[in-house]
């Protein structure tokens, strides 16, 4: 299968504009701006079945179509490069190795929604990688790809790269907007949705870095071509981040619908030291865990939903028999407690409760009823909060405790860890 975004990963030459141009760079943008109407672009993206790759999987073309048409009001494109979901590192690879692909996607998406200003929000830790993107942007400006009157079409576009400052919650789209406005990242109540009232109260489209980066190839080869690469309702390819107890951690670009088994055993070369697979988180830390028996699932949005999990950010975290799942869950609990913005009581208090219960179990002080309480607290968070961080904290709790109950009970009742060391 021919690679799209990862074709030139790890080749520093590929970052340069000259290299990109030699490989048909900015030709899709030229086609979009000079031969297509915004509506035609949106229709092509709809046909492609491209879905949001930041986590929620919302159809991208449909999202763009929500932007008010024929209104003089300014609107914005915001690219989400906050990438803080544990287990996810694909957006970093994009801005490090193929920054111009993202920028070309930005140009096409901005034209399609009628935005003249785009903000790229990168997590603060990525300062080195954001600098690579900044260098690429400056190169592209100098070549006339950004700024005024692009390709002589009269279309103007400016792009600004903005650095976050260490807060997982700023990856949530409305918290990200607050952060861009210079405030702390407190998610907003929705509706109104950003497409109606987003940055500075203006219509705003927010997309993940990878989502936007697939736009140029869709315009170049057509939406139908892209859609055929994937499975029925999830078009194209995507970048799977694979980490944990695996021989070859890394980013693998494969069609939507590739089986998890294939990703683990064929591409990431299987388990280390002949260890047995125990558990896999399929789509970033917030998605429900799978057992070793469930890995024949196809990695697309529908197939994972059908077995009670989610594709999320496609951050695959692999755990072998040496992993203590009580400890693993406690690590995640602490993360969500630390990152909860504190606006909603169930999330703020619940993440603390769950972490304390897990810590107690882990240190041999677990008591009967702890697991019931853990699940009860998680259930009280789910669906009762402003943003999805609460759900993201609850889902691992419920799935770990349900699927690996004996391991937790062994810690509570026998004060014994069952992990194979």
């Amino acid at each position: 299968m021919e690679k799209i975004l990862s074709k030139h990963f790890f080749n520093p030459e590929a970052r340069r504009l000259s290299f990109y141009l030699q490989n048909d760079g900015y030709e899709a943008a030229r086609k979009a701006l000079t031969c297509m109407s915004p509506q035609e672009i949106i229709e092509e993206v709809m046909k492609s079945n491209l879905r949001g790759l930041g986590g929620a999987g919302f159809p991208t073309g449909r999202k763009w179509s929500f932007i008010p048409k024929d209104s003089p009001e300014p609107r914005y494109l915001v690219v989400n490069c906050d990438e803080s979901e544990p287990g996810t590192f694909k957006d970093r690879h994009i801005i490090e190795w193929t920054p111009h692909t993202l920028l070309e996607g930005v140009m096409i998406a901005s034209f399609a929604i009628g935005a003249h200003q785009c903000f790229v929000y990168a997590r603060g830790e990525y300062v080195r990688y954001a600098n690579i993107l900044q260098t690429a942007l400056e190169e592209a400006y100098r070549a006339g790809f950004f700024g005024k009157n692009i390709f002589g079409t009269g279309f103007d576009l400016d792009v600004m790269i903005h650095l976050g400052a260490g807060a997982y919650i700023c990856g949530e789209e409305s918290a990200l907007l607050e952060s861009l406005e210079g405030k702390k990242g407190w998610p907003r109540l929705k509706p109104p949705f950003p497409a109606v009232s987003g940055l500075f109260g203006r219509p705003t489209i927010i997309n993940n870095t990878e989502t936007i980066s697939y736009v140029p190839v869709i315009i170049r080869n057509g939406g139908e071509w892209f859609s055929r690469l994937g499975s029925l309702k999830s078009g194209g390819m995507r970048l799977y981040s694979v980490s944990g107890h695996i021989r070859k951690p890394g980013v693998y670009e494969l069609p939507l619908g590739t089986s998890l088994r294939e990703i683990i055993y064929t591409y990431a070369e299987g388990m280390r030291n002949g260890r047995k697979l125990k558990a896999v988180i399929p789509g970033g830390s917030s998605t429900p865990v799978l057992t070793a028996q469930e890995i024949d699932v196809k990695m697309d949005f529908e197939s994972l939903a059908a077995i009670g999990s989610m594709l999320g950010s496609a951050g695959v975290i692999v755990m072998d028999e040496s992993a203590c799942l009580v400890k693993a869950l406690a690590v995640l609990g602490k993360f969500y407690q630390h990152e909860s913005c504190g606006q909603c009581t169930p999330c703020r208090e619940g993440t603390g409760w769950m972490t304390r219960i897990l810590h107690r179990i882990l240190t041999g002080r677990g008591v009967k009823g702890d697991l019931e309480n853990l699940v009860r607290v998680a259930n009280n968070i789910q669906g009762n909060t402003i943003c999805a961080l609460g759900d993201g904290a609850a889902m691992p709790m419920i799935s770990f405790v349900t699927k690996f109950r004996e391991e937790f009970e062994s810690h509570i009742f026998h004060k014994r860890c069952t992990a194979v060391r």
Binding site: S84, G87, G124, H162, A167, S241, S243, P249, F335
Partner: protein, 158 residues
């Protein structure tokens, strides 16, 4: 007048940032980043000066500094060792590397050496789980930080 706390260089950088932002408040985070890059942390004096410059209450600036973990209200060592201990790094033994660094430097996690050269902290996922155990020293990422590699790195950093 607390604006004098800001060096001329920093003031120049700040006016450049302000020129890029049609509104002032969205410039706050970039300005605080600039202050921290120049001064290593954001002192109460800088906090006041920035508030004055933007015409906003000091508490608004304080609120931002306490919300975002990368903004530092206190100085750290010349080399800020930030070990990821989230799941993928934990699975590869991140805690051992933290312990190795602390042992070698004679400090606890969260502390700075007496000579102010090193600070050790633990952080959440760095978006570098392919490099697990991963760490960040100031702006740079480091991969596969086993105890041995931590010691090698500490030999190199001065």
């Amino acid at each position: 007048m607390s604006l004098e706390t800001l060096s001329d260089q920093l003031l120049a950088e700040i006016s450049e940032i302000l020129a890029k932002h049609p509104q002032r408040r969205p410039a706050l985070l970039p300005i605080l980043h600039a202050c921290q890059r120049r001064n290593g942390y954001i002192s109460p004096e800088i906090e006041r000066a920035v508030a004055e410059l933007l015409g906003i209450p000091v508490i608004d600036v304080r609120e931002i500094i306490t919300f975002y973990t990368l903004l530092l209200p206190k100085p750290v060592g010349k080399h800020h060792l930030q070990f990821c201990t989230n799941l993928s790094c934990h699975l590869q033994g991140a805690e051992e590397s933290v312990a190795a660094a602390c042992r070698r430097l004679g400090i606890e996690e969260g502390e700075t050496t007496a000579d102010r050269r090193f600070t050790v902290t633990t952080v959440e996922c760095l978006g570098a789980c392919d490099m697990a155990p991963a760490m960040q020293v100031n702006d740079d990422y480091y991969a596969n930080m086993t105890s041995d590699r931590v010691n090698e790195l500490l030999d190199k950093l001065s």
